[in-house]
């Protein structure tokens, strides 16, 4: 196994979180924590205190990580423009970051299209008398989105994106 593939991957992961961090600082959002977690899968994270912030600020914060990855990817392509292991590491990371199951984009989408549910989640979090946990509530409204029409649109776009990144028909035009 080529262990040196972990080096660019680690770099891209850290830069992704740096994107979130910089966006939070620029928009003067309160950073709650930054670190590493195993839930729902091993990953780095930067979390902000999201209590009543506007959709635009939340959207920019969430998208900044993926934007950073895209910027690095385009810099790499313009400097090197070849299909080596680093290209595939970038492709893997971009595919994971844009997936329709659990990503920053899924949070943006359901915080916009299910605004009321998203806001209600915070009311439940801050209310000790609520008979519903915020985790249950999150599961309920995620189920509204998952495998629905909007979700399938995201899934279709994601599939086309994967093909675009990895298909030799598209890739040979970059060589």
């Amino acid at each position: 196994m080529n262990y040196y593939v972990l080096i660019p991957l680690l770099f891209i992961l850290l830069m992704h979180e740096t994107g979130h961090y910089v966006a939070a600082k620029v928009m003067k959002l309160r950073i709650e924590k930054a670190g590493f977690t195993y839930k729902p899968f091993p990953r780095f994270y930067v979390s902000i205190i999201d209590n009543g912030i506007s959709f635009q600020k939340r959207g920019w914060f969430l998208i900044s990580g993926n934007l950073m990855t895209f910027v690095l990817f385009f810099i790499y392509l313009s400097l090197f423009s070849r299909y080596d292991i680093v290209y595939y590491v970038f492709s893997y990371q971009l595919i994971v970051e844009t997936n329709p199951f659990y990503s920053d984009y899924t949070t943006i989408i359901f915080s916009y299209f299910y605004k009321d549910d998203f806001k209600r989640q915070f009311e439940i979090q801050s209310s000790p008398d609520s008979d519903q946990t915020d985790k249950d509530y999150k599961e309920n409204y995620k189920n509204k989105y998952l495998f629905g029409k909007l979700w399938y649109l995201h899934f279709l776009v994601w599939g086309i994106f994967i093909i675009g990144l990895l298909s030799p028909v598209i890739s040979t035009s970059h060589k």
């Binding site: 998952l146 495998f147 629905g148 399938y152 899934f155 599939g159 994967i162 093909i163 990895l166 298909s167 030799p168 028909v169």
Partner: protein
């Protein structure tokens, strides 16, 4: 007969209303085939044909293990079976309609996959090749339904009872020739993988009639094993 057909129709209707089932059973196999074929099959038409047969068996395995075997045990666990004692409709007939509806679903998905293969990747199957695919579907369905049943019987009532089924399913998937010829990539793994029931089913689907013998043997083994497990294990609530 009319009741059987009507019941099968309602089973299909119930299936279409469960979004997650429609996704994993219909959409996901098509997605895998289209994406992998565009990436690796565009300049290699034999790969698209190779992959298509593999994806069909991937779907058969998941349907058998998660939509048949597992469901039967859940019926016993939930006490659903007791309702049949009071109605003029046997539980075995109900299971028959469940299995028939899953087979119809598999045939429809396979037909869609074949159509996409012809339209976009020029994968054309001859009549004999289609017969082999059908044999693979039937053999695979029997094997994986009983395998799912055996696993579910032993894990019934435990926390995360489905995680064992998932684990075995994914191990079989990645140690098989479904997506790539494993025996060519890694001969050692290829030899180990041949003890798994999925590879003879995949090979039969791809036209190797000799693989029909291990498929039949696995079918007999799992049928007997599931009968014995059912008799010996009490599935309680």
């Amino acid at each position: 007969m009319k009741t059987f057909l009507l019941s099968t129709y309602y089973q299909l209707l119930i299936y279409t209303r469960v979004k997650i089932a429609v996704f994993f059973s219909f959409v996901f196999p098509i997605f895998i085939f289209v994406v992998f074929s565009f990436i690796w099959g565009y300049h290699n038409l034999t790969y698209s044909k190779f992959l298509l047969t593999g994806v069909i068996i991937m779907k058969v395995a998941s349907d058998g293990m998660f939509s048949v075997g597992n469901i039967i045990v859940k019926f016993y666990q939930d006490g659903f079976v007791k309702y049949f004692k009071g109605i003029p409709y046997s539980f075995m007939k109900y299971i028959g309609t469940l299995v028939t509806s899953r087979i119809i679903n598999t045939i429809v998905t396979s037909a869609v996959l074949l159509g996409i293969g012809v339209l976009f990747f020029h994968t054309i199957f001859g009549f004999l090749e289609l017969i082999y695919i059908l044999l693979g579907i039937v053999g695979g369905f029997i094997i994986f339904s009983f395998l799912g049943l055996i696993i579910s019987i032993f894990t019934a009532g435990k926390d995360d009872d489905q995680s064992v089924t998932f684990f075995i399913y994914f191990i079989m998937l990645f140690l098989s020739n479904i997506f790539y010829p494993l025996n060519q990539l890694n001969p050692t793994f290829g030899k180990i993988a041949y003890i798994l029931p999925i590879n003879p089913v995949v090979d039969l689907t791809r036209g190797d009639l000799v693989s029909g013998i291990p498929v039949i043997l696995w079918g007999i083994v799992f049928t007997i094993a599931s009968y014995v497990s059912f008799e010996k294990h009490e599935i309680g609530r």
